[in-house]
Symmetry: C2
Subunit: 192 residues, 2 copies
């Protein structure tokens, strides 16, 4: 039932100058900082708090090998030492569904604002697709907020299909209160 580690090749789809590894619990504070700082204040302090609460430490403890962390090469920290925030360039948090043996799920993807056009996001998704395939998964799911038009465009660009919701907004299916009162979501699926 557990996931075997496999070597992480920083080459492949990743641009040069970065190191790719699995996240560890000791990365939590740095990732929380990114959730605060990388969104240009979107949603104010409440929005930052909401993003931080989406990433409790458990994801780094229990879903590490389906998640990825990208650092600028040379700034990566030795085991157990806190990372300098400047080193972190992107991360992806994902897991394998334990209910649906066909599905892998991307919970969170974040790319440093300076890296938004660098191909890091695409490389993270592609690497996750490979990991999911390696575990026999045929489908990847993800969600986003309906107001996050960049994320909707990006997922579509990456081959995700938008699922119908309970209403349509600007041509996009939206599920009202999907994650709780006021937390509408757009749901994506991509066959592998």
């Amino acid at each position: 039932m557990s996931i075997r580690s496999c070597d992480l090749e920083p080459s492949g789809p990743f641009p040069p100058g970065v190191t790719v590894r699995y996240p560890r619990p000791s990365d939590h504070a740095v990732l929380q900082g990114a959730l605060t700082d990388w969104w240009g204040g979107q949603g104010g302090e409440a929005g930052a708090q909401q993003r931080r609460l989406l990433l409790p430490r458990l994801f780094l403890q229990h879903f590490s090998e389906t998640s990825l962390l990208v650092e600028a090469t040379g700034t990566a920290h030795p085991e157990g030492e806190p990372t300098e925030g400047a080193a972190l360039r992107a991360f992806l948090i994902g897991f394998l569904s334990q209910t649906d043996p066909e599905t892998a799920y991307i919970h969170f993807v974040a790319v440093h604002p300076e890296e938004q056009r660098s191909g890091l996001g695409r490389a993270l998704y592609q690497r996750f697709f490979d990991v999911a395939r390696g575990h026999g998964r045929s489908r990847v799911r993800a969600i986003t907020s309906p107001e996050n038009r960049n994320s909707i465009a990006y997922h579509t660009h990456m081959g995700f299909r938008i699922e119908p919701g309970d209403r349509t907004e600007d041509g996009v299916g939206v599920w009202t209160d999907y994650d709780g009162p006021g937390l509408d979501r757009v749901s994506f699926v991509r066959e592998l």
Copy 2:
């Protein structure tokens, strides 16, 4: 990698008068209501919002068979219909670690205020221990907030050991900022 369903026997450790089943995504709104209403307003609206954000829909979609929902018998709803809030008595949300093959994790347990001494909580934990053993797990982990003294006493009573933290508060190990800024946690482990 996925979890096979197994029949849920409502007997065994559960008190009479309740039905036990796996939660479904369609239960999400009712569970969110419980997270708002069952804590006696603890932490005000911010506290309720924080609890709700701990339970995004993904847990009901992807970790259903390591989770449990208890309803008053006779009030359980047919497949796909919303449950009357009155019917829900307790729930447990758990999963199998994908990083550590020995560990199962209890993310959230909630018991209706009127059922606090009924044995429902104990029955939920015991059932989860059985499920974890059935998947070859030898250890269960959980966390709570240091101010939640009832939860700390309860976990100790259920055989959990409190792990050392980075400080001690009233004799209890506490991890500062464990789940983010201001989110201190007490960490429990129980061998099976």
